[in-house]
């Protein structure tokens, strides 16, 4: 499957199929269902400087062709990751990318600095778009200045591949991508979740403890494909597309819109084997359409 090789910054991926942060645990949760070595890589869940308990239950609601979540970056902190999780991942022959979140620029920088020495971590994804935390997260991702300032600071602390994950809850995502590119990001990933809300009308209360949460799943795919297409027209760095991907066909929409790689998120919950199927389906498409290099399909729209 050499025809599926793609590159993101200095990362060489065996194929464009990654898993989205917060939807695939640390990979090991899915080891009974998927040969992890078949995937291009994993983006492990949002990691912060200190441990976080996340938001109160309830944290999810099903919506038409999607779901809302309000996890709120529950994780045990970067040091726990380094000492307890990272050693268990070393046998996996796929790229491991850590999603980095923070409430302040200093937080982001410190997490990046601590991850930088890890030999198997060749890239981080900086999350400036989490809608489910009060401080940081989306606050940085909704203005060019905020996005640029986080990128600039993390760039100075981390010299391997730096991916910045963008928020779709903005008027002009292309301008934010450009701001991030200008500060030295190697790649942008998009979209994070759309801010949404659902109400249990019988009980007259919101489904989520936080009232609003992040909408993901096939419902948002048309928005995500459009944003990837807009960003692809605006920046030169590679784009990682995500948002409601359930199949090779969906993944190819993102690639044709301009993405170099893709992430599978919410659909891992519906079909835990879906990532592996997507690799096969993209390869089958290339076979049927005589595509010798997946990069030929990128941005053809």
């Amino acid at each position: 499957m050499a025809r599926l090789n793609v590159e993101i910054g200095s990362l060489k991926l065996k194929n464009p199929v990654l898993t989205a942060s917060g939807t695939f645990g640390y990979g090991t949760e899915f080891a009974d269902f998927v040969d992890l070595n078949r995937l291009g890589g994993f983006i492990v869940k949002g990691t912060t400087l200190n441990a976080r308990e996340g938001n109160d239950y309830p944290r999810m609601a099903e919506t038409p062709s999607g779901m809302l979540n309000a996890v709120g970056l529950q994780n045990k902190g970067v040091d726990y990751f380094i000492n307890n999780i990272y050693p268990t991942l070393l046998d996996i022959d796929s790229e491991i990318i850590v999603n980095v979140s923070g409430a302040s620029i200093d937080d982001y920088v410190e997490v990046a600095r601590r991850l930088a020495p890890l030999e198997r971590i060749n890239a981080i994804e900086v999350n400036i778009s989490c809608p489910n935390v009060k401080q940081g997260g989306m606050a940085f991702g909704t203005t060019c200045e905020g996005a640029a300032s986080v990128t600039k600071a993390v760039r100075n602390a981390f010299n391997k591949t730096l991916i910045v994950k963008l928020s779709p809850n903005v008027t002009d995502i292309a301008s934010i991508a450009k701001a991030v590119e200008a500060e030295g990001a190697d790649s942008v990933s998009l979209i994070n979740t759309m801010l949404g809300m659902a109400i249990d009308v019988e009980r007259q209360r919101p489904y989520l403890s936080t009232i609003t949460g992040g909408l993901s799943g096939p419902a948002v795919r048309p928005i995500a494909v459009r944003m990837v297409w807009q960003v692809a027209k605006a920046v030169k760095i590679p784009i990682i597309g995500l948002g409601g991907i359930t199949s090779g066909k969906d993944a190819l929409e993102f690639i044709m819109a301009g993405a170099t790689a893709i992430q599978v998120g919410t659909y891992n919950f519906v079909d835990p084997t879906v990532t592996s199927k997507i690799v096969d389906e993209i390869d089958d498409y290339c076979h049927r359409h005589n595509v010798s290099d997946i990069n030929e399909l990128r941005g053809i729209i």
Partner: protein, 258 residues
């Protein structure tokens, strides 16, 4: 315990009282059921419902090794479960299974009380069989609003004595399960599954009598495998996933207020 993603064929769909039904299924490929512990659950795909996106977690009601059947006791709680309950013999349901940890049974001894309410009765059938097979004195305490909503009582009787509480007194003791006369007796261990207020009441009774007590939680979940972090319960160790750390918890692990 290894997890599988497997197609199951519906063999029987029995309508029970109220909004409940019982599906009996067997692996579509004819293979033996994998090893399953009492109290584990499955995540079922709901293929024919437009308004259902995620799988539905359903606790395992019974494992019949003779017929190679898995039983799911399902409550019609919305479009997803309604669709599952409309399954016909021959229909195929995809499941991720078995999930969660199940009830601890190896260290149980003596007289045990299994308390269930509503669809929470489901996992207690197989649990009772396992405990009875292990030589324990199995006793059920089943609660319902009214007689017609009592589920699978005859099946439960195969594995133990069944005590009943109904809100309206139409069967067994009148009132809540926590007011049943069985609480006058001494129990070596309590297992409980049902609505949260009931489980909290049972936990209070257990603490009063210093009886070890395990409850099975039914928090809403998306993935069922510990990835989405949506089904968390606050415990003495912080927020943990019910799907992987539970669904069964010893009550002192939880932070329920008395």
């Amino acid at each position: 315990m290894k997890k599988y993603i497997l197609d199951f064929v519906v063999r029987h769909n029995e309508k029970l009282g109220g909004r409940f039904g019982l599906l009996k299924l067997t692996p579509a490929n004819g293979s033996q059921l994998p090893e399953i512990a009492a109290g584990q659950f499955v995540q079922v795909s709901v293929d024919g419902s437009k308004t259902t996106f995620l799988r539905r977690p359903i606790s395992i009601n019974f494992v019949d090794k003779v017929t190679n059947e898995l039983w799911l006791l399902i409550r019609n709680a919305g479009n997803g479960t309604e669709h599952l309950l409309s399954s016909k013999p021959g229909d195929v349901l995809n499941m991720v299974m078995p999930l969660g940890n199940g009830f601890p049974v190896e260290d149980a001894t003596g007289r045990v009380l299994l308390v269930g309410g509503g669809v929470g009765t489901a996992p207690l059938l197989y649990l009772g069989k396992i405990l009875r097979d292990n030589g324990l004195d199995v006793n059920y305490l089943i609660g319902a609003r009214t007689k017609d909503e009592l589920l699978m009582i005859d099946n439960l009787k195969e594995y133990g004595t069944v005590y009943i509480s109904t809100d309206d007194g139409s069967a067994g003791d009148p009132g809540l399960v926590t007011q049943n006369k069985v609480w006058d007796e001494k129990w070596d261990r309590i297992y409980c599954c049902g609505p949260a207020p009931m489980m909290k009441g049972v936990a209070r009774n257990a603490r009063k009598s210093s009886t070890q007590c395990f409850v099975s939680l039914e928090n809403m979940m998306a993935c069922g495998v510990g990835a989405c972090l949506c089904c968390v319960e606050r415990t003495t160790k912080g927020n943990v996933c019910v799907c992987t750390e539970g669904p069964v918890f010893e009550i002192n692990q939880l932070t329920w207020q008395d």
